[in-house]
């Protein structure tokens, strides 16, 4: 009985589809696509509204001071997000400074310089890096990288910069534990390389061979080809790739929590421990109550806005480059 009715409805639909006109089907297709798009926007708006409502008590209590304040005192219920915002931005910037040249190097090597038999294994290896769970980066960072970083970078650099103006502040650590903002930035760099490198590689590979060959034909060196022909061609897409990496660096939680040292204090040195918005939420959310919970949600809201601003700036940058 059940099977029979299903067959019937199938036949119905089949004959029905011939009845519905082309424009009708088009309209259905359009509606489906539109509702998918609206769903994403609705979820996005829902998250933003929920976070804003959740964070409202903190915003109301501290006002603009919440953005600039640097206290995080659960004892007296005083909260300010600035150290976490600064930590988020500085780790992301360090990650980009290290990660972007590395990724572009990989992409150029894979598309221009590497012999054919090297390309596929290396490209696969880079893509596999993207599939490593972030907690593994965190564990590796804490157990392997942190002791090495303390011994071979933090201690010698701190000894060297002690007492010097500016670098003596930015690159000096009173207790060189290996944990800190710089460590987190380096681990993040490893994590965003696969994203930027594989997109940049795809973009470079898509550039018409004619362009490259003509450049070589007029006597350009490999460097000149990469610098003056390939990178300008792929420029817009590469900026897009970098922004994708930046997005990951801003929001990364687990790996950063392991290696940043989790200090809710503002420090002037990148070798000192700090915290990011995401790591602070990961650390404190479980046990937070009342205003502290609200302050955490409010920092989440700020991270949302920071990411949004970064994306808008990236869009504007891409648009300007296209116009040129």
């Amino acid at each position: 009985m059940a099977a029979g009715s299903e067959a019937l409805s199938y036949a119905d639909r089949k004959s029905g589809s011939q009845v519905i006109s082309l424009t009708g089907r088009n309209a259905i297709f359009r509606a489906l696509c539109l509702s998918s798009a609206i769903l994403v926007l609705a979820v996005l708006a829902g998250i933003l509204i929920a976070m804003f409502i959740g964070g409202w008590p903190a915003f109301r209590e501290f006002g603009l001071g919440f953005f600039t304040g640097s206290a995080w005192d659960t004892q007296n219920d005083q909260y300010g997000a600035w150290p976490a915002i600064a930590g988020t931005l500085s780790t992301a910037v360090i990650a980009l400074i290290i990660g972007v040249p590395l990724s572009l190097g990989i992409a150029v090597f894979l598309t221009q310089l590497a012999p054919g038999w090297v390309r596929t294994p290396v490209a696969t290896a880079v893509e596999l890096l993207a599939a490593v769970p972030s907690i593994i980066y965190g564990m590796w960072g804490l157990f392997v990288f942190v002791p090495l970083f303390a011994r071979f970078f933090q201690v010698p650099v701190s000894n060297l910069t002690e007492g010097l103006p500016i670098v003596g502040t930015i690159l000096y650590s009173r207790s060189p534990t290996g944990l800190g903002v710089a460590t987190a930035g380096i681990i993040l760099a490893f994590m965003i390389v696969p994203f930027i490198a594989s997109i940049a590689r795809d973009m470079l590979a898509q550039i018409p061979t004619v362009l490259r060959e003509s450049a070589y034909g007029i006597g350009c060196t490999t460097w000149e080809v990469v610098r003056y022909v390939l990178l300008p061609q792929a420029g817009v897409s590469i900026i897009g790739a970098i922004m994708l990496g930046l997005g990951r660096a801003l929001g990364e939680t687990m790996a950063v929590t392991f290696v940043i040292g989790n200090a809710n204090r503002l420090s002037s040195s990148i070798l000192d421990p700090g915290s990011t918005i995401a790591s602070r939420i990961a650390n404190e959310f479980n046990e937070a109550l009342g205003l502290q919970m609200s302050a955490l949600i409010a920092t989440g809201c700020i991270l949302f806005l920071v990411t949004f601003v970064v994306l808008v700036v990236a869009r504007l940058l891409v648009a300007r480059m296209k116009a040129l």
């Binding site: 659960t74 004892q75 009173r174 944990l179 421990p273 650390n283 937070a288 109550l289």
Partner: protein, 344 residues
């Protein structure tokens, strides 16, 4: 057709019988007693057929869940104060006792070799004592070869009952700590780096030479961490072990705080380990799910009677017998269903 109906009825009866006889109690909260509760739950299931589903989401989460009445009991390492308990109509009682030790990683120094005092620990965590060969530490340890290295201070970065017990101890022994930092599940640390969870702290202490961090004793023992001794209120340096934790619990006046909410830090007694604390259970005084509340009380009654051996195996300290009797009396007098009938 007939046969099918019969089978369905039989199946339903079996399901209903099953649900009537076995109740899976639900609980949520503190991570510290989680290994103990799961051990107890396993043995209790074998003995009674009733299970326990305990989620170790942290003390704060446990308090939230029991207030929202989504679990049969909540668990917290930080006792709630009397008016907090009254406000939400909660009853509170201890389930077991644990202790914390200062784990250290000073090259060449083994577990239990270094001696420290509470005020020194407070000064280390305040950043006032910053080298291992500080005169104050040297005076206590004349025979040890202390390095002239900076002390790397490590704390728990996640909100945690362990942090509450540690900072409460420091507040009791140092007025400066009390006024500048205070005691809570997370505080504004003046110096140091944070590790997430016991494992984060112990990994950091192990990885970075010349570090100090506080962990639960059970954790330090299982992971073979080196740790220092702390001077107690009587001026002695007891070895952290079940006997010294029990000594801390024995002298305590449990009736002095509502809901047995006393903190066992810095208790008098020659053998008392100074950083000791109980972990607590929260339940509603007026239960709208009396069957489940009764089942939870039965579970803890069983654990009080039969769980001491399991607890000591895991380095938790069972409650003294007189405290258990006091708790049972409170179950009888305080925990009732909505009509006021006692559940235990």
């Amino acid at each position: 057709m007939k046969f099918r109906e019969l089978a369905a009825v039989a199946g339903m009866t079996i399901v209903m019988m099953g649900s009537a006889s076995a109740i899976d109690i639900t609980g949520a909260g503190a991570t510290f007693p989680f290994p103990l509760y799961s051990k107890w739950a396993e043995a209790y299931k074998a003995a009674s057929g009733n299970g326990l589903n305990y989620q170790s989401i942290g003390s704060g989460g446990g308090i939230r869940q029991i207030k929202a009445n989504t679990v049969d009991f909540g668990a917290s390492d930080m006792p709630l104060k009397g008016d907090d308990l009254d406000k939400d109509g909660l009853a509170q009682f201890p389930s077991a006792i644990g202790a914390e030790v200062p784990a250290i990683s000073v090259p060449g120094i083994e577990a239990r070799q270094m001696k420290l005092t509470g005020p020194i620990l407070a000064d280390i965590y305040l950043g006032k004592i910053s080298k291992w060969d500080d005169p104050k530490i040297k005076a206590l340890n004349p025979d040890l070869k202390l390095p002239s290295a900076g002390i790397n201070v490590v704390y728990r970065s996640d909100g945690s009952g362990t942090t509450f017990v540690w900072t409460d101890y420091l507040s009791r022994v140092s007025d400066e700590w009390k006024s500048k930092v205070g005691a809570n599940t997370s505080v504004s640390w003046p110096i140091g780096v944070g590790g997430k969870g016991n494992e984060g702290v112990s990994a950091t202490v192990k990885q970075i030479p010349n570090s100090i961090g506080y962990v639960e004793y059970a954790y330090a023992k299982q992971n073979k961490l080196s740790y220092a001794l702390i001077q107690n209120k009587d001026g002695k340096f007891p070895v952290p072990e079940i006997e010294s934790f029990q000594a801390a619990a024995a002298n305590a006046d449990w009736k002095s705080a509502p809901g047995f909410g006393i903190i066992l830090n810095n208790q008098p007694g020659e053998k008392a380990w100074p950083v000791t604390s109980a972990t607590f259970i929260l339940m509603h005084k007026k239960s709208d799910k009396p069957d489940r509340a009764t089942a939870a009380l039965k579970f803890f009654d069983w654990a009080y009677s039969n769980g001491d051996k399991l607890a000591s195996d895991l380095e938790y300290v069972p409650l003294p017998a007189n405290v258990k009797d006091q708790v049972r009396a409170v179950w009888k007098s305080d925990i009732k269903d909505t009509s006021g009938k006692p559940l235990f």
